[in-house]
Symmetry: C2
Amino acid sequence: MSAGLDIQAGSEDLNQLLEIGKLIMRSHYCGHLNKSLVGQNVELCGWVNRRRDLGGLIFIDMRDREGLVQVVVDPDMADVFEVANQLRSEFCIRLIGEVRARPDSQVNRDMATGEVEILATQLEIINRSDVLPLDSNQKNSEEQRLKYRYLDLRRPEMSDRIKLRARASSFVRRFLDGQGFLDIETPVLTKATPEGARDYLVPSRVHKGKFYALPQSPQLFKQLLMMSGFDRYYQIVKCFRDEDLRADRQPEFTQIDIETSFMTADEVRVVTEKMIREMWQELLDVDLGTFPVMPYSEAMRRFGSDKPDLRNPLELVDIADLVKEVEFKVFSGPANDAKGRVAVIRVPGGASLTRKQIDGYGEFVSIYGAKGLAWLKVNDRAAGMEGIQSPVAKFLSESVIESILERTQAQSGDIILFGADKVNVVSEALGALRLKLGTDLSLTDESAWAPLWVVDFPMFEEDDEGQLHAMHHPFTSPLGVTADELKANPANVNSNAYDMVLNGYEVGGGSVRIHDSAMQTAVFDILGIEEDEQRRKFGFLLDALKFGTPPHAGLAFGFDRLVMLLCGTENIRDVIAFPKTTAAACPMTEAPSEANPAALEELAIAVRAKAENV
Amino acid sequence: MSAGLDIQAGSEDLNQLLEIGKLIMRSHYCGHLNKSLVGQNVELCGWVNRRRDLGGLIFIDMRDREGLVQVVVDPDMADVFEVANQLRSEFCIRLIGEVRARPDSQVNRDMATGEVEILATQLEIINRSDVLPLDSNQKNSEEQRLKYRYLDLRRPEMSDRIKLRARASSFVRRFLDGQGFLDIETPVLTKATPEGARDYLVPSRVHKGKFYALPQSPQLFKQLLMMSGFDRYYQIVKCFRDEDLRADRQPEFTQIDIETSFMTADEVRVVTEKMIREMWQELLDVDLGTFPVMPYSEAMRRFGSDKPDLRNPLELVDIADLVKEVEFKVFSGPANDAKGRVAVIRVPGGASLTRKQIDGYGEFVSIYGAKGLAWLKVNDRAAGMEGIQSPVAKFLSESVIESILERTQAQSGDIILFGADKVNVVSEALGALRLKLGTDLSLTDESAWAPLWVVDFPMFEEDDEGQLHAMHHPFTSPLGVTADELKANPANVNSNAYDMVLNGYEVGGGSVRIHDSAMQTAVFDILGIEEDEQRRKFGFLLDALKFGTPPHAGLAFGFDRLVMLLCGTENIRDVIAFPKTTAAACPMTEAPSEANPAALEELAIAVRAKAENV
């Protein structure tokens, strides 16, 4: 197979070679070759990206991690030519050759190495390749791409994402190391609790019938590290959630986990905002600017979302006060209900929407529980009611319509879309509609970056049975109240929590934690967690709070999501080397799969259902 | 509780404050205070390490992550004094005070901040503390220390280890980033196989009856990354092994995982040796020097171990050729057996060992299967046989004894200890005895560092049934043979593997991998892995080998063990923030524990045994 190369390198001068940066099996990466090397012999290792035969010569586009270079094989070099003649796409090869400048007419400006080519003088096939099951020119199904992930990752588009991810984690570590944060590992085999749902469980062999749980986050461990006095902690760490998957969720995901002692919420925000700004600057050369800070209530009011995409100029405008008195019950009902909301979105230029398009948006908002989508076109603002076109205009007085137009600053050519229902329904429906309109009508500036802090979240959410649930998690500190004040009126208290939002994605979230055991117990009580359950699940935390716990606060970033944004992709699987499908399976290794029956025996567990085929 | 401090800081100038390095709740760490700050007001947060009342004043040793400083409270400051009077050990406090130089007579040279003290002007108790369940002066049981791990980690001895670990991982990342290695994450939820033992299993909820396995190493994924062309990969990654624990094992452990393409074994050794040398230089200011390289056969011959501790000067000396002809069957039997070994250790000064001590060593070697421990004291080398004292001398001729003395270069006062049995028994028994003697007789230089590469391992080990097993793993490349040559004579082939040994610990191990599918299939065949099992377990690897796989090689370090060596501890739990006990349990969180019955139902698994109590 070989045209005379010995792949085993000598070892005597290895240290010296390493010092001067020489690679032994090769002298350079393909992608690094340039005009300064003209006349030199280089040794290259890599893959045949493409082979062409032209004018009696063989041209090889040779690829390695750093890029492509063109190799020329001349039939005068009979040995080399014979080997080259066997080459097919994706053969792994090694060669020695001379760097030549290309004539001006043949310089390829689209190629980083396009000013040079290599005249091969020795050539060896290291490994042949079958024809790839993935087509490089066609779209492959994602299932097929995942099955042959190792081949899919050869595509520069994919490998660039994985490389950018590595640069991102390296940046984060350098930044946090520089700020005095300590990288401390927390356990993966953690405590299962009888109340725990959506935890991945791991049966114990030593303690038969008992289970570990894979962590959904290292929350309690990082709080304990603050109690130990480590002061500033971080970890880039895998977390696990066994839940129904969505397009941007994975059963295992990576978190940049941060916790600090003796820092206020403001300080945590400043440090982490600085990190993200410098990251974008270093990796994308983008200045994100200072992040605006917005209370949750404002975000819900103006954008119908706690993670508004501020690249989208549309806003929700409340009009309940204007329609309280109208006879049209669809509006006046919610307008007079303390739990109702009536709001509109004015869409500039939206009067050109067809009836069919508007009906489509009506169907869209129904997903979020809206019962319809009233609309009002402003065909000619100067023409009074004559210029208005709307199926609901007849239910509204001229003065009500005029006040809506004034409040929304409607112009000729706009459309106004209405939401009237329970607060949550209106906010969610119009919030989602706002995003869809922004994309459909190209109102959202996709090239922009819009970061934002959302703060002052409610401490609790109420479910339909009136039970309160923690909006973040039960270790989040309330804002500005004592334990007694919290107990007296929990539903109206805000938490000291903060979310970082970027282009409509929640990229990070955190809070000041409770460091007072009376407060922690009060929160557990409000959440309806009984005392024995408190002890069983969080006994060690409650114990730990007795021993001089410092004030502490932290934040966790969804690292996969940050990298998604850095890469400009909306598919989380594109930024994970070996992701799972949305059905939590791996088509390449065929995980999950059947287990060793003897191992199950030893674990003292039995499978109750016949194993399904993946 | 407060003497007038508002813990919520203002936010307007946070960015500016952060730029100039000012911490908001505090201005300095306690441990950073020094004479240059005399006269300045400082704000400190931390813990009461100790309180003393002396001459009407209250003295507080205040502690934070960076160290201790002495605080003085004067009764003239009535408010502050009243708060100080409530202080007990481990109260979390915040104070403002003035840095004062201590009079020369009161300078504490044992304390980094011993030249100064702080005169408190404001003092606040952030959080009180119960009396700690751990005694700071007494030895606590490890169980108790693990139960209150967050308190045990407050001890500077423990927190220093965790900090050194963070510095170690930071160093490794900086080094490998600098060498062009890419940090790429591999899955934690991987494929379970019917043959897999000792894997932790994770039942799938989506695919009922099927399981994921937690990885024992990312071996196959890192090889696939090389097939993708990433060229240089690393990861500091958790791995899992459900096996009987030993003192230096944990169910989850951390690996520095490295893989490269187009690099020879020598190159991998040079890069990783450079990493460890620079690591020791940076973290301990120790120059490890160039690592010697030793074949496996020499290590077993001279030290009876594949991970010899070269700080120990004792060596095994083979004497089978000298005793082949003696009538003493205990020696001549193994000496004439191709699978036997006869070897001795000469222990300088060992003639002073008592009969009882020698009997003790005899019992010690019996653990390793040795049937006895023959010995020979050289009381006076000049006195011929008169100077010899030995229960076996009578079975040996004078010339045999003389040739043994010559070969071992025995001196007056030495003892010679004999091993004669099967090769493995002699090597293991004398190898272990060598270590024990080195420690017992203080022959091993505990202050020294002795690194070493062991290479040229046998490819396979034979079990009692004659079946061959991979000495490293089945993806290890044989050294210098074709697939056909390997199949013809597998038992005599060496692998292209290498272990890094430091002070008798195997800290890292790796190999050149098989990149040829015929060779991979040959190895599977030799190992007796049937074709359908090959497909089921490694089908994706065998597929991947068809598509131009590059030559690749790698290495994995046991990170916990490296940190153990850096910290000078022999207890692996000392270098892990939240370790498990040797019974794989966590006394703090009480993991593992009973799981949610509804969750088990949903996972379609049942517990067969009644849960044991941990």
